[in-house]
């Protein structure tokens, strides 16, 4: 029973983080059909912001707010630098510019800060443990679950009820038609990038909370996770991304519990092979979203 509870908590906390990562990637993809390779760097930006504001002595929550804000700004910058100049051109061009922008940000961190890990302030509660029904678990796992629940609820309310959310869903379904009906394209795209940055910022706080330090390459793993989760769940569907995040966490945790030690190091190869297989079986993912995909 305790093992089971442990398993459930692991899956939920890991899945919550994965779902948020995937959501941040898919909100941009759904509307723009842009696979944002610079998404992992938004997480890096938030991490380094925490490091840079650390000496200011502000309370942790204020520093976290600054970090999330920086991630939002970096998201909007992605739109202006990597996306807007080539929006009307081929999919490949957009992919390459976002890849270039990711390299740019990473190397800027190398050049202006340091290649070595930098410590990030963490609140006390991140390192405490809690006991639930005989299971001892780090408090940050419960915080992750809570953050995921709050953000996912907020997000689904935003997408369903608010004018912005409805306009974004309209743009994701049929961009040209949405524009004809007066949806301002640039505003919608910038908002998608801003929301993507917001999610990346929150994920960054939770993700870095596990390690306590930030390095220039920190974004790669979240990016890969987000890729896998969105591909499994459905590249064009927001619900699919969340589902994919939890499924991936379930798979990872199961492999962690069952795979023998000498195969465990190949875990990434296993999960990525699975991604390839799923794409072959259902190129659109488990949940298919709205058809279309014009963005000009």
């Amino acid at each position: 029973m305790t093992t089971f509870l442990q398993f459930v908590i692991d899956v939920l906390s890991l899945g919550g983080a994965y779902a948020l990562m995937a959501l941040g990637l898919v909100i941009v993809y759904g509307i723009l059909r842009l696979v944002n390779f610079a998404y992992g760097e938004l997480i890096m930006v938030a991490g380094y912001s925490m490091y840079l504001v650390n000496p200011s002595g502000l309370p942790w929550l204020a520093m976290a707010a600054v970090a999330v804000l920086m991630a939002v700004l970096a998201g909007i910058a992605t739109d202006y630098v990597a996306f807007r100049p080539v929006r009307a051109k081929s999919v490949t061009a957009v992919l390459i510019t976002s890849f270039a922008f990711s390299t740019l940000l990473q190397n800027a961190a190398l050049l202006f800060i340091s290649p070595r890990p930098r410590n990030v302030p963490l609140p006390e509660i991140f390192s405490e443990t809690v006991e639930i029904a005989g299971v001892i678990t780090p408090a940050r796992n419960l915080i992750t679950i809570a953050a995921a629940v709050v953000l996912l609820t907020l997000f689904s309310w935003l997408m369903r009820r608010s004018v912005l959310g409805i306009a974004m869903r309209a743009a994701a379904t049929n961009f040209t038609m949405a524009r004809m009906l007066g949806v301002p394209a640039n505003l919608i795209i910038s908002s998608a990038f801003a929301i993507s940055g917001l999610l990346a910022g929150v994920v960054s706080l939770l993700w870095i909370g596990r390690i306590g330090a930030v390095v220039p390459g920190i974004g790669l793993e979240p990016l890969l996770i987000a890729f896998i989760a969105t591909v499994i769940g459905g590249m064009r569907s927001l619900q699919g991304a969340v589902l994919g995040g939890f499924l991936l966490a379930f798979m990872d945790t199961t492999l962690n519990f069952t795979l023998p030690q000498d195969l465990l190091k190949f875990r990434d190869a296993f999960t990525f092979s699975l991604v390839i297989l799923i794409l072959l079986w259902r190129p659109q993912g488990l949940v298919s979203g709205p058809a279309s995909g014009r963005r000009t």
């Binding site: 080539v86 051109k89 890849f99 270039a100 290649p115 190869a269 990525f272 390839i276």
Partner: protein, 342 residues
């Protein structure tokens, strides 16, 4: 036909000129630079064969470069060295020692064989799905290289490869690559593939078997990558799996994008420009570090400049420097115009 011959003559001439000038100068540093450039040419032309003709971005290319390098390494490291550089190697392979030239060829073939097996089902995908799977493939190949200690010495550096690659060999390989890439582009498969790039639906309706065409290009491209990787391995003589990941992918991709992915000329010119820029920036970085102008080491400047150049090229001239026509076609057209005018 004439324009293709002109293109071949000019591009091969460029490489020959590079070899002659380097030999005349006789500076060791330039020799290293020119060899690196020729190896990069093989790799970029390989990527061009697939990406230029099919229009699909592939991240997996550098993974196949790694397969070539490791295959050749396992086959050519002298038997008495193997105990040290690959202690866990399977006994069957431990006794094998072939000449580096054969090793380079086998490295290319091994990469092509792996590509032939894994890529066929992937070629059905287009656009973003194709890019993400190729990215996934790169991660899988990288994970395997990092953890298959018996063959690759794990994440540690593998050393002991015989030094076999010199400038003439690398330049020869680069010239062959130019001819092969151009021949493929003008072949029946290449033409059909290019038609599928420009209009997938129309090409399919005319009866082009698109997955098969893409697969043929992909396998050829992996062959180039494998040979390029093996050449590089026998030039540098020690390397680790880190050499075959995103950083290298970025450099090769930037060469192709800046030059122009759709033309062989673009690939060659892009490789030359980026290599020169890359090496000068690296030298600048080293000079800054040597002068100790800043308290911390300067790293990453090169990549920042390259990334900016890539974004600028894609925004201002999305096809690269040579977007649609090879250099031969351009010159021919100009000559014809002159004749008509005069």
């Amino acid at each position: 036909m004439l324009r293709n011959l002109t293109t071949v003559a000019i591009l091969v001439g460029l490489i020959l000129g590079l070899v002659v000038v380097t030999n005349l100068l006789g500076v060791r540093l330039f020799d290293r630079l020119a060899t690196n450039l020729c190896i990069a040419l093989v790799l970029v032309l390989g990527l061009q064969v697939f990406m230029g003709n099919s229009g699909i971005l592939s991240f997996a290319h550098i993974g196949f470069m790694g397969i070539g390098a490791y295959t050749s390494a396992v086959l050519t490291i002298p038997t008495q060295m193997k105990g040290m550089s690959l202690p866990d190697l399977y006994p069957v392979l431990a006794a094998v020692e072939v000449s580096p030239y054969l090793g380079i060829l086998l490295g290319g073939l091994a990469a092509a064989a792996v590509a032939a097996v894994v890529s066929y089902p992937l070629m059905r995908l287009s656009d973003a799905a194709a890019v993400i799977t190729s990215f996934a493939l790169l991660v899988v190949l990288h994970t395997v290289m990092t953890h298959w200690s018996a063959v690759t010495n794990g994440p540690r550096t593998l050393f002991g490869l015989p030094k076999a690659t010199d400038l003439p060999l690398a330049a020869g390989a680069a010239m062959l690559a130019v001819v092969a890439a151009l021949a493929f582009k003008e072949s029946r498969v290449g033409l059909l593939l290019r038609s599928s790039r420009d209009d997938e639906v129309a090409a399919g309706a005319m009866g082009a078997h698109i997955p098969r065409l893409r697969w043929q290009a992909f396998v050829l491209s992996a062959l180039f990558a494998g040979i390029g990787g093996a050449l590089w391995g026998h030039f540098i003589t020690s390397f680790s799996p880190k050499a075959f990941f995103l950083k290298e992918t970025f450099v090769i991709l930037s060469m192709l994008v800046i030059g122009g992915a759709n033309t062989v000329t673009g690939a060659v010119v892009g490789a030359m420009i980026v290599t020169v820029a890359f090496e000068s920036l690296r030298a600048l970085e080293a000079a800054i570090n040597q002068a100790e102008m800043f308290t911390e080491q300067v790293v990453g400047l090169t990549e920042i400049v390259l990334a900016l150049a890539m974004i600028a090229v894609l925004a201002l001239r999305p096809g690269g420097l040579f977007a649609t026509h090879e250099i031969g076609a351009l010159l021919n057209r100009r000559a014809r115009k002159k004749r008509e005018d005069g």
